[in-house]
Subunit: 309 residues, 2 copies
């Protein structure tokens, strides 16, 4: 029951020798969600030993090159590997035209279908749901239509205490209802309280991805209380003006959002190439929100299971 | 007076964790020629500490994605860095349409001009010339119109022997003619033979880039005697059939071309991702042509100056 984020790229528009262009992979129970796909993403996927065949859903925040130029090569590789499964891409509508024009020339005989899911970046809405996870959009504030994504695990069932199935002779057909919180009535019509049978369920885990964006308090209700928040901090406070001009965030912006949204942990990234050492940005943000780290290519961030109290 | 090749990527269509997509940089007297531009090229340029501002000419062998998908990001980075100099791209005509459509959406306010030079891949012709170097096309044999590129240094002048300018009182205005091979007549009308004044010039150096291509003896007259030949060897002899089907070369194909063209040194590359260890391909080729190495990302190959005899 993994819930783990892998940072594939942490630079902003210009990559550096240490930071690739933006892409994250979130593994939720062995579903591998790719979030943004900057140039070089397929190489980073390989280096991080993530299997191409596991990626069925790609979420694109907005149509700036540093978030999508890796799609061309990734799709080409899928095709060369004779992928058959559908590939789902969630993005601003215009991407469909761009990709179709591209595929027409470069991937004439494509072995799989691409299903486009068109986002309305101004709304918070559910765009994906299965038995384990829900994905919602987070309206962001950028020069072009942009949205972030929030991934929330579906509620877990209560955990059975040790040996209760044997000790109370619970038939298999009743196990699910016990896990859902029901008491158990045995053959002698005795009621065994659910508390005797189960422990509280694991907490649902959540991850929110917010880039590219200027400071926007509108996102706070959507991301409130997430375990892990990725929020861009393209600039330090020395470049506050540049951040405003380009509708990006500073160290303080990211930290203030994390604080006001009461998140568990903050990862900042999408760093401008002008910062050789992002320690400055990190320290400025840490003053406001202490539980913070910088995004580093290839690093994994796992959220462990914890029980509700 | 550098003549040095840097391998940026050595994989074929699918990159691996160790091999990036195809791109080479040839430094001829501080002109940095970029040859092909697979995805990730801008990152490899950074990693290899080549300055973006030094790249004015990009040569594209053919319009398969693994040779051009890095152009989008590279052009975007040039634009973000406010490049002003013209960028020259030499390629199959269709690239102009593809790039223009792309630029219209992604780089609306581009800070520099792109000058397209349209190649006729079926001919051997000079496509670039300045005072130091000539670039010619090499017609190759592939599924789509494809050509290689040959870079030849212009002939060097003869080298002045030590102290001759002072000892024979050669005026500055006469130095060039002495370097070109003329004798020198001094103020007393004595003829000083050129042999006394100069040493033979350095040999002109040359590099030929041949990928993607099936075995084609037609290229031999064009690449005959080059110091350094890059020839693709996508497959080993175990995949001879696949090589034929996909119009690529095997280990033996590359080595036979190198041998018949009497080149100085052969570099093979564009390796299929199925080979974890390319030693097999290298050994097969070495049997036929011993002075051979495999292309490895980030490796540099310098051709030193040697004097004519």
């Amino acid at each position: 029951m993994t819930f783990e984020l892998t940072i594939l790229g942490s630079s902003s528009a210009i990559p550096t020798s240490k930071r690739n262009l933006t892409a994250h992979v979130l593994n939720v129970h062995e579903r591998f969600f790719l979030i943004d796909c900057g140039e070089g993403t397929q190489i980073q996927i390989r280096k991080n030993k993530i299997r191409f065949g596991k990626i069925d859903h790609i979420f694109i925040s907005h149509l700036h090159g540093d978030h999508i130029f890796g799609l061309f090569g990734l799709i080409s590789t899928f095709n060369l590997l004779n992928r058959e499964k559908d590939l789902h891409i969630y993005s601003h509508p215009e991407l469909e035209n761009i990709l179709n024009g591209h595929l027409e020339y470069f991937e004439k005989n494509i072995s799989f279908s691409i299903i486009f899911h068109l986002l309305k970046p101004k709304r918070n809405e559910i765009i994906y749901e299965d038995e384990k996870v829900i994905v919602e959009t987070i309206p962001l504030k950028h020069r072009v239509p942009t949205c972030g994504f929030k991934f929330t695990e579906k509620p877990h069932l209560r955990n059975l205490r040790k040996n209760v199935v044997e000790n109370y002779r619970i038939p298999i057909s009743k196990i699910r209802s016990v896990q859902e919180g029901d008491d158990f009535i045995n053959d002698n019509n005795e009621i065994i309280s659910n508390e005797k049978l189960t422990l509280p369920p694991y907490k649902t885990r959540s991850y929110a991805y917010c880039t590219d964006t200027a400071y926007s308090e509108k996102i706070i209700p959507v991301i409130n209380g997430v375990d892990l928040l990725f929020h861009e901090a393209t600039f330090g406070m020395d470049m506050k003006r540049q951040a405003k001009l380009t509708t990006h965030s500073t160290s303080e912006d990211a930290a203030n959002i994390a604080k006001k949204a009461n998140v568990g942990k903050l990862i900042i990234g999408h760093f401008s190439a002008r910062y050789k050492d992002v320690g400055v940005i990190l320290n400025e943000a840490r003053e406001i929100f202490p539980n913070i780290i910088s995004a580093e290519d290839g690093e994994k961030h796992r959220i462990e299971l914890t029980r509700e109290e």
